[in-house]
Symmetry: D3
């Protein structure tokens, strides 16, 4: 289970590298990719806000944008002859059907009020996968926001409970298009089903490749306990 930040889709070379990695790894294992919405999501959400839609509608646009990114991955993978499910699943049920008959499945968001990171955790639980590799906008978890606090320390290992404490400092926040790295709800699913998450820098695909090949973590491991 690999989560790809929507920002990756701003850079063709970055996409190409992820496609190379997925193509290569799919020979050895089944892979589920969840792509974020990125710039297109942000753009449409911003237009909608100026025209007067609600937050659920904003999330629906974000979901549609994340599926557009997912389609781009699907068609590029098909072009290389990889056994990828030829559509983007729009529900966990469709994901389950796709997963049992193909080596690669790529999906985007599912429902308003859910980050695509949450989707990757839900999908992992549903398919009994124990680790989510999260290729995100940051390179690792820090004790505080490193751009604001020079004393913020990089964390290489943390438990769900520890991360939950970190989040509690920040209050209730879920505007469409601005979901944080991870949320309480994703943490609670990770805890109940013993799922770990690896935070990796999405701008450096080599880190995903290294993790998939020999388990090396150049980022943070969040473990259920």
């Amino acid at each position: 289970m690999v989560k790809l930040s929507g920002r990756i889709f701003n850079d063709v070379e970055l996409i190409r590298k992820y496609i190379d990695i997925v193509g290569e790894e799919s020979k050895k294992r089944k892979i589920v990719l969840v792509s974020g919405g990125g710039d297109v999501a942000r753009r449409y959400i911003s237009i909608l806000r100026s025209l007067g839609g609600n937050e659920a509608a904003a999330d629906m646009l974000g979901i549609a944008a994340s599926r557009l990114n997912a389609m781009l991955m699907v068609y590029s993978l098909l072009d290389r002859g990889i056994d990828v499910y030829p559509l983007v699943p729009e529900s966990l049920s469709e994901l389950a059907k796709a997963f049992y008959t193909h080596r690669v499945v790529v999906m985007g968001g599912l429902q308003p009020g859910q980050s695509t990171t949450m989707v990757s955790v839900l999908a992992a639980e549903y398919l009994r996968i124990s680790v989510v590799a999260n290729c995100s906008n940051i390179d690792a978890l820090y004790t505080d926001d490193p751009s604001k606090n020079p004393n913020a320390t990089r964390i290489s290992k943390a438990t769900v409970d520890y991360v939950s404490e970190l989040l509690k400092k920040e209050g209730v926040r879920a505007l469409a298009g601005t979901y944080e790295l991870i949320d309480e709800w994703a943490l609670s699913i990770m805890k109940r089903s013993r799922i770990s998450m690896i935070i990796l820098d999405g701008k450096d695909p080599v880190r995903l490749s290294r993790y998939l090949e020999n388990g090396e973590v150049m980022g943070t491991v969040i473990s259920p306990e």
Copy 2:
């Protein structure tokens, strides 16, 4: 938007009273009901655990049970000639289609990792409804669990932020079938879309009736701010 605790479905007379209220109120306004899973959910989840399924599967059984309760409402309402959507929507999209062509829609759960209370909040946001009446297993919000702490005080009005602080005392918890009254995620949606929730005692349908008729709250109002 009315959330009905699954426990209501243990008592035929209670169901009948809710059907009477919905039938009566549907002449004046559109109503969306969300029913919980109740005893059938708990029974199947317990069997599954003893046979070895995972938490997502347990939630799927809970969702199926909540839909069974919803179907029971639908068929009873149809029998009285009420303009109810004749199926139980299985996604927000189907809910939207049903809502714009019928006066009453009844649904159950939607996705693993979500309480039916969360579903009622998401559906309210999606349909631009500003209040959720939650006919729950308790009669109101308390400062602590009244069965354990004799000093627990009944709360008649609270903000989302206040309730969020209450929840933080309790830690990360989301076992299928044991979702709490309300969770962080539901609160964040209420906050972002300015939705209020009215906590009412589900065992006393008169309270729902009074609330729908003249806005009287015999329980707790949780307001977005």
Copy 3:
């Protein structure tokens, strides 16, 4: 093609044994299971009747209950790593798609006015399967109801025409939730497509196991001619 009486789902140990058998046999052949509605079906149908629904609605609740039982089987089989279709097919078309890509498929009812035994016969015909093993509430076919007539004799082999004559003594009867062991309609399908049915005692899973392993019938064979 194996039909499981809904009563089996009252007893966790019984379910576990059937799961063991299906898991074991799925290594050797493809298996389609059809589960009945059992106690949950009867309970909801009884509540609906007291609230005023019609017979088609009662059957729909019975179908939903049988699908709940089917889901329980699916999730338990998935947990053991068996190649089972991850959903419960809701039509013969969905069954066909599932059957050609998985080793085990589990389904419940399909339509009002149809027993789940009828579903198992229809599904067998649709998929070109020539025998239905019916793990039922009785241990075999008798010349009369053995609980009422001490002279009732156990039948080990019978033709469809003979069973049809037995049924004609009893008149037209199809209340939701009280479908008999087998009906005229199921017999007519068995006859036209040359399908046999093996009646086995559902409370004794060893009988199914023996039948699947060496063809031994500890009950009744109903043959098309």
Copy 4:
């Protein structure tokens, strides 16, 4: 609820008259039409038999042919500006959705092993309609086949039980494409849900018109009791 024999679709003028009647009556009441498969069904079933398909497949072709006839009705009704559901429902659920939002719905068959007469009875039960007008290949029910037995008497009123006795003389028979006027299973649904059926000569549309306008029955009434 009006059942139209597939044979009607051999004669354009006959179709035109039924469209006139439905158009006229739809101003006064909601109408559900179920069309049979007729000659196209028989032709394809015969080709399939010579190529080697099974009975379920033969029924599926008959269902597809009956839907083709239904589509013809739908498009002709749309062309006259009548509020008809623009598709042919392929399940009882789709029928229910269509029925509550349109004045006319036209469907064909649903499942293998079911005559379209059975479909009309099931649909009537599902939608709480108490009478099915069956525009069939015969002009009324007779005590015996009038083409073979000159002493056969025309029956103007009969109970479900009486018709059931008539059928028992004829044995188990359900080849695709040769379903009889009415079968045991349809009778059992009529009995359990107190549905009547009016047998009318399909070749004389005036009889349907007269029945719908003033209740005059120029054929046979089969009543549940």
Copy 5:
């Protein structure tokens, strides 16, 4: 039937004006909008080409982008309380269902190899609508490309056959994302079903408004004969 060029979605004020017009006109008549893919379509198609997908895949991305634009319209219209179908139809069948129960329907593309202009013509034919207002990237039809040929003359009225002759000068051309104003195939549908098209400058919404209100054409009328 109104076709909106995808370029309109680059400019929030332009979208707002079209929403105002649709909101106003929907009080008087039913409206179907078809939106193009615009810049997002072009961007994703260009990325796909550099990564190696085929033309059908490129068209699929264009369709997804046009649906994103359509969703934006839907949510903005819902926010103003207009009776718009709450989803974006993905087939002509879904369009038909939506059209008969709502006052406004917004859709995007449907299939590879089809421009959204073609979709608007197909949808008009399917729904028996006789005129398509095409808010396009040009302000009218010209005898030649006015940016290349200073002698190109503006055409205010033309027949399908005349436009067809104009197109024949340009040869076979259908790269995804570069569909011309109108193609042979759309012309043939307009001809067979006697549909007219009004070419209007999409950058000036007043022209659509004037046309809808009093039939004034500030562009070109293409008539079937």
Copy 6:
């Protein structure tokens, strides 16, 4: 990719021979068949015209008829134990899912305004197949209609551009049920995705067999360039 003219379905022996060929070839390669509507299509379209439907409706009946022919193929192939997708795909998405899990897929038409030849070209592009074998009503392409012009010459090889020039002589023409051998739109897809088409006499199945086995073309090759 093999297109079968609907006329083939008038002759059982012809169908049987095509089934033999498909059964045999499916051992060596994956096959997608697209069947035309043939006589049933023409008959229903003619009835509809006399009853007053529009061209889109006429095309929908033609599509339904072509799917009936496709179902006949599917059931006959299933009867021989061939790994064929058990349904007839109704969209390109369903085709894609079917194609990646089965060795044979059979489909009919998809949308109004499209010939089944166009469907075979679209499907080929979507699935990255480079040649369409078109078993048509003629034995080859001619420079003119050989039944009218005795000087018409048989063409063994032609480019898309050449065929396009031939078509331009004939004007805009697309009445439902009378689609020509090939149209401009199909040619443009063949050109953009470099797909060839082999025109073969549908009445002589040996020609398809020879082409599939050793590439021998007893008809015309239309190549993209």
